[in-house]
Point group: C2
């Protein structure tokens, strides 16, 4: 039956290609993080805390693109491992600001270098102009998807 223009053509679909690219990036990152005993979300959490100390669990979740429940269990794990510290009581409201410990900073240093090498590899062969164009295009896609919450 005519799927015509109402369907998706995998070969030419930007959505499909976006998924392919993010899948390739995820695999490459997992490959370099696994030897360090770290998952992508784990790394993302540490990187976010390094750049924005004091972030709450919910804010970290948004920054790592997972639910706050997922980040919650990860933070519990990282606290037990001694990579992250949180006050036992909230300074204000219920929000518990998290911070890296020295151990967390050391773990991040190796991971960050590894991830950086993946990103460099990913961008090999692209000019600065091409990278800038890709950046703007992806930003536009994110904005368009967020602005309209699913037209019913």
């Amino acid at each position: 039956m005519s799927q015509g223009e109402s369907g998706i053509h995998l070969e030419t679909s930007l959505g499909y290609l976006l998924k392919e690219a993010s899948s390739a990036l995820r695999t490459a990152m997992e490959d370099v993080l696994r030897p360090l005993g770290m998952t992508i979300t784990h790394y993302s959490c540490l990187e976010l805390l390094a750049q924005r100390p004091g972030l709450s669990s919910s804010e970290l979740a948004r920054g790592a693109f997972v639910t706050r429940q997922s980040m919650h269990v990860l933070l519990q794990h990282l606290e037990r491992e001694g990579q992250v510290a949180r006050p036992s009581e909230a300074p204000v409201g219920k929000v518990l600001p998290a911070r890296l410990t020295p151990r967390g900073r050391r773990a991040l240093a190796k991971a960050s270098a590894a991830v950086r090498s993946v990103e460099v590899r990913m961008l090999a062969g692209m000019s600065d102009a091409e990278q800038a164009a890709a950046f703007r295009a992806l930003q536009s896609m994110v904005r368009s998807l967020r602005d309209d919450p699913a037209t019913p």
Copy 2:
């Protein structure tokens, strides 16, 4: 401490933005597929079978960017639901070619239209030239990540 150029700057990282974009796309697709009782991998499987009938479980897995084990359990489910059919014996070797049933085709029709609307929304505000540039950029990233398997 100087994280310098060895680290990642979240605000300007193409890798981070790529993850953000794919996360936004995933969420948007889940939002329109959930009312249809379908997951993204489920939809991807049907779409692949519509465009390339006779694909094996392993080939479907690669096309949907999951492991063949994950696709295997999904296919078992879809066979029970009557959306997909496979011969009980392999025509050649061990490979079992899968095909859509009429019921699978009907389920796909709705899903495909829904996903198409998400893609249209995502590309709103982008010129054809911008879309083409984004397409080439993403293709380049995929190629670069695959060609070099993790330089140790």
